[in-house]
């Protein structure tokens, strides 16, 4: 296993080091690839959502970013020989920021959804998460996953997240509340204005770790798996190839698994 992946990595490196005639040709076509600019400027700009616990979370006490994708971004910067500059973004602003070249790549476990794929290009996924619901401990209406889609139940989602279209699609009896201010989901649920909010594995972990009142409602069976990946603007083939190569490399050399272990995300990490 290891040997095979090492061989693949070596072959890839060889391909990178010795430009084949085809590659040279492609290089001529795409003169202004981000990759050249990054290597030249030694600066890699990475979009992150600083509220994404376990993924790209700015610790309010220290102001420092922490999470699996912060580790991955730093690894990518190191591989490219570039300094990493993190640019604050969110799921709502994701497409704008990436397409407006606010950053070279968005690295905050972006769910690969059809709507996003229309405008963005995704690397191979490195995480995969189902949907989870967070309610309060004292909520007497929500006991299990099946209690969610009932009349009178208010389900909160954050605007622009992958959960918004999915829940809009799936909910038939409960009413959906779409919120676009930071932490509005939690506040709606905690104050009782909403009964649950839908989120993914990393964010649910944050709630359980940090909010005493929070209670996790997990789906009884697989509800809706979403692969998470890095997003970049389409069109830059060499940059895309480099990023794909990076994802394959960190999966193969164990850096991804180690980072997932460090941030307690081993259950959703996708190392193949």
């Amino acid at each position: 296993m290891i040997r095979t992946s090492q061989i693949i990595a070596a072959l890839t490196l060889c391909a990178m080091a010795i430009p084949a005639p085809e590659r040279a040709f492609a290089q001529d076509i795409e003169q202004n690839s981000r990759l050249d600019r990054i290597i030249a400027s030694k600066l890699l700009k990475v979009c992150v959502w600083p509220d994404y616990y376990g993924i790209s979370y700015r610790n309010p006490k220290s102001g420092l970013l922490d999470g699996i994708d912060i580790d991955m971004a730093n690894a990518l910067g190191a591989d490219l020989g570039a300094t990493v500059e993190f640019v604050d973004s969110s799921f709502a602003r994701l497409a704008d920021d990436v397409l407006a070249a606010q950053c070279d790549v968005a690295m905050f476990a972006i769910g690969v959804t059809p709507s996003r794929q229309k405008v963005l290009r995704f690397t191979a996924p490195h995480l995969v998460s189902d949907i989870y619901a967070i309610t309060t401990r004292s909520n007497r209406r929500i006991r299990s996953w099946n209690d969610i889609d009932k009349p009178g139940i208010r389900v909160a989602v954050a605007k622009g997240t992958l959960h918004e279209p999915i829940m809009r699609d799936k909910l038939q009896h409960a009413s959906l509340v779409v919120l676009d201010t930071p932490h509005a989901r939690e506040q709606e649920v905690e104050s009782g204005r909403a009964d649950v909010f839908m989120t993914d594995y990393p964010y649910s972990r944050r709630m359980l770790d940090n909010a005493d009142w929070a209670r996790l409602i997990a789906p009884d069976a697989v509800y809706h798996l979403t692969p998470y990946a890095y997003a970049l603007a389409p069109g830059d083939e060499r940059w895309y190839a480099r990023l794909q190569d990076f994802v394959a490399t960190v999966k193969a050399d164990g850096r991804l698994a180690a980072a997932a272990e460090r941030h307690q995300l081993s259950t959703i990490v996708k190392t193949r």
Binding site: R141, S191, R193, W213
Partner: protein, 749 residues
């Protein structure tokens, strides 16, 4: 009480002890369980008080914050805030206020004109049941009754908690403001009871149920999800009554059977709300009882097992102990038997000199006083023993005490003591008891009376033997001298020291006895018989002496010879006298020649020798002629001189080997050995002529005598008498022929 009985009682006692331990263990575990239950109750009560206090503080603080928020919103917005401004302000106020579900602005008529929840707009919520009851609108915060629902729009007042438990609820609070003649504005906040319940429900580990109760006894909300019992509702009402009566906090035991449940309550100091915690003791105790039971289930078998192990160990140790005791008992018995079997009396004194142990021999000595049972015998002490043994040359008490105290290593002495069986001699040995820790002394008392008597006897015997004139020598089986008496020295000239270890044979053997002699001697004594004999021995100064020797072998009880005792007597004088007597008996005193008996013996011996060797033997018979006449004419003295002269003449003419004897008054005989007839005739003629020539002086005149001689040659078959009679016949013939002549007998030669 016997040892068996004691040990049986000990066993019973130990088993009882084990049972007692077990019972005590059960009781103490039970007691521990009860204590634990009491502690659990006390802890629960304490916990309930704490939680009650924390809950009311949290509630009051939160409501006070809400009050402050409402007041500042009202005061700042009363005059100039636009409806859009109110809307934004209220919306902003909800951010980070999870205790609030909505905020609504009510106009003078109590109608919702602006709300964070658009569903609430236009409603006129009831405010008459709010507390404190200071009129429907007041600048005091007033707390409404409980509602079932999410917000005012879908809220229904909860009237009976025994009928239902809301799955979502709220409590409205209201605060109003009116300035001067201006319109009154009121803010109604819908309190999110889940905000409080979330905190209360976090106490899930504690089985505690909280009722948040208004001052009038109405339950606002509760963390109990099932409908309330009427008893609980009634209890809450009673507590609220107490609050109103001034009892603002405390712990109350209640319940149909009394003491089944406990509640802790506390009302806020300013707000008309309080918290009542209901604790079911059954639930709390069940945990303690289950813990106690599991402890019992764990501990009691362990204790029982431990005690069983102790019991088994006790029995094992007891068995080992029993065995050791028996072994020691046997050893002690054997030691006692050994001590009793000793011929010596053994006494053991402790460090105070008191007798602690003695053997049977001691009782048998007659010194112990044990034979006088009628008398009260004082306890035996080392001093009393000393007193028994006191003697003229000193009291032994002092040296005996010295051994006891360790000042002296030993004390040995011999004593005479008078016992009931008479005077006896004892040898006393006193030794310190070693080693520590038993200090004291042993005294050993050996009756040596017999030995003393034997020594006395031996001394007498020795004196007697020493006084005996005969030499007495005791040798070992190799004949080496072991002992000799002074007479031996006198006899042989050898001092005893010189003789010791040497054989008498080396000292005194003269060589005059043959090997056969000694062989017979050894054969006899080695066969265990007494040998008696005489022999000639040599003194140290080389002089010979005759000795009468008796040798007696001395055997041990098995008959094996251990010693030889030789008694030597000097018989030289007797031998000499005997020889003299023999000589006297065989010699003619006048002439010194052999008498007739001695001569015939010699002749017989010569005849034997002649027959053995074949040498010729001749016999001469000689007679003085007319001797009667000499006697008659010249007297017997002259006659004796004549006979002596004639004997001398014969003696000078014969050889030493020839036998010569006076066989009659004037008759003589000669046996000529290895002499034939002719030589005999010639010798006879020489003797006849020598006699004829001899002159005897008597009374002044010289006289002469002649002799007639008969000669014969012995024959092989001759007897002594035969040959003598034939020689006599020849003599007779010579007499008849004219005397002074030699005639040969007709002996066939």
């Amino acid at each position: 009480m016997g040892r068996q009985t004691i040990s049986r009682y000990a066993d019973l006692g130990f088993v009882l002890f084990i049972v007692l331990c077990l019972v005590l263990s059960v009781l103490s575990v039970r007691y521990h369980g009860r204590t634990m239950e009491r502690e659990v109750i006390a802890t629960q009560v304490k916990l309930a008080e704490l939680h009650t206090r924390a809950a009311i503080e949290h509630l009051a603080q939160t409501i006070a914050t809400v009050d402050l928020l409402m007041r500042s919103l009202l005061e700042s917005g009363y005059a100039e805030r636009s409806s859009e401004g109110w809307k934004n302000t209220l919306k902003a106020a909800l951010i980070n206020s999870p205790q609030l579900r909505s905020l609504s602005l009510l106009d003078d008529g109590g109608r919702v004109i602006i709300s964070t929840n658009e569903d609430d707009l236009g409603l006129t919520p009831a405010v008459d049941g709010f507390l404190p009851d200071v009129g429907p609108y007041s600048d005091l915060l007033r707390i409404g009754p409980p509602y079932h629902g999410r917000d005012l729009a879908d809220g229904r007042e909860i009237l009976d908690w025994s009928k239902t438990q809301p799955d979502i609820g709220f409590v409205p609070v209201i605060r109003s403001i009116s300035m001067g003649e201006g319109p009154r504005l009121s803010l109604m906040a819908v309190l999110n009871v889940d905000f409080f319940l979330n905190r209360l429900s976090q106490r899930e580990a504690v089985p505690m149920e909280f009722d948040i109760v208004r001052y009038d006894g109405r339950i606002l909300f509760s963390n109990t999800e099932s409908p309330h019992t009427t008893a609980r509702i009634a209890a809450d009402h009673r507590i609220a009554e107490n609050w109103r009566a001034g009892v603002e906090s405390g712990v109350v035991h209640w319940g149909p059977e009394g003491g089944h449940a406990v509640l802790a309550h506390r009302v806020d100091t300013r707000l008309p709300v309080g918290v009542i915690a209901h604790i079911s003791l059954d639930t709390a105790l069940a945990a303690a009882q289950s813990e106690s039971r599991s402890q019992q289930a764990t501990l009691l078998p362990i204790i029982a097992l431990a005690l069983f192990v102790v019991l088994v160990a006790y029995l094992m140790f007891r068995r080992i102990g029993e065995r050791q005791f028996r072994t020691q008992q046997t050893e002690l018995m054997r030691t006692g038997q050994l001590l009793d079997a000793l011929p010596a009396a053994v006494l053991l004194f402790d460090d105070d000199g008191r007798l602690v142990l003695s053997n049977r021999t001691w009782d048998e000595t007659g010194l112990s006083g044990a034979t006088d049972p009628g008398r009260n015998v004082p306890p035996m002490t080392i001093d009393a023993l000393a007193a028994h043994l006191a003697r003229d040359d000193g009291d032994p008490a002092q040296p005996m005490r010295a051994v006891l105290t360790g000042d002296s290593p030993a004390f040995d002495a011999e004593f005479a003591a008078t016992t009931h069986s008479g005077p006896r001699h004892f040898q006393l040995m006193v030794r310190p008891l070693a080693p520590a820790p038993f200090q004291g002394a042993t005294a050993m008392l050996l009756d040596v009376t017999r030995r003393r008597e034997a020594e006395q006897e031996s001394r007498l015997l020795r004196a007697a033997v020493n006084a005996v004139p005969s030499g007495i020598v005791i040798t070992d089986t190799d004949a080496c001298v072991e002992w000799a008496n002074p007479a031996f020295t006198e006899l042989t000239g050898y001092a005893i020291e010189e003789a010791l270890g040497r054989r008498p044979a080396e000292l005194v053997r003269s060589g005059l006895q043959g090997k056969d002699f000694y062989k017979r001697l050894w054969d006899t004594i080695c066969a265990g018989q007494v040998w008696r004999g005489e022999l000639i021995n040599k003194r140290k100064d080389e002089s010979l002496y005759h000795e009468a020797l008796t040798i007696a072998p001395v055997s041990d009880e098995h008959g094996s010879i251990q010693h030889f005792v030789a008694i030597k007597e000097d018989i030289s004088e007797r031998k000499r006298l005997e020889a003299r007597l023999i000589e006297l008996a065989r010699t003619d005193p006048l002439t010194g020649l052999a008498n007739r008996r001695a001569f015939t013996e010699s002749l017989g011996a010569e005849l034997d020798r002649m027959r053995r060797h074949g040498h010729p033997l001749s016999v001469l018979m000689l007679d003085v002629d007319l001797f009667k006449r000499v006697n008659d004419q010249h007297g017997h003295a002259t006659g004796d001189r004549v006979l002596r002269t004639v004997a001398e003449a014969m003696r000078t003419n014969v050889r030493a080997t020839d036998a010569l004897g006076r066989v009659g008054g004037e008759e003589f005989a000669i046996a000529l050995v290895e002499t034939g007839g002719d030589a005999a005739l010639e010798l006879a003629e020489r003797i006849r002529s020598a006699v004829a020539a001899a002159r005897i002086e008597t009374h002044g005149q010289s006289i002469g005598v002649t002799m007639s001689v008969g000669v014969t040659v012995a024959r092989g078959d001759d007897t002594v008498d035969g040959v003598l009679s034939r020689a006599d016949a020849a003599l007779y013939a010579a007499k008849s022929g004219g005397r002074n002549r030699v005639t040969r007998a007709d002996d066939g030669a």
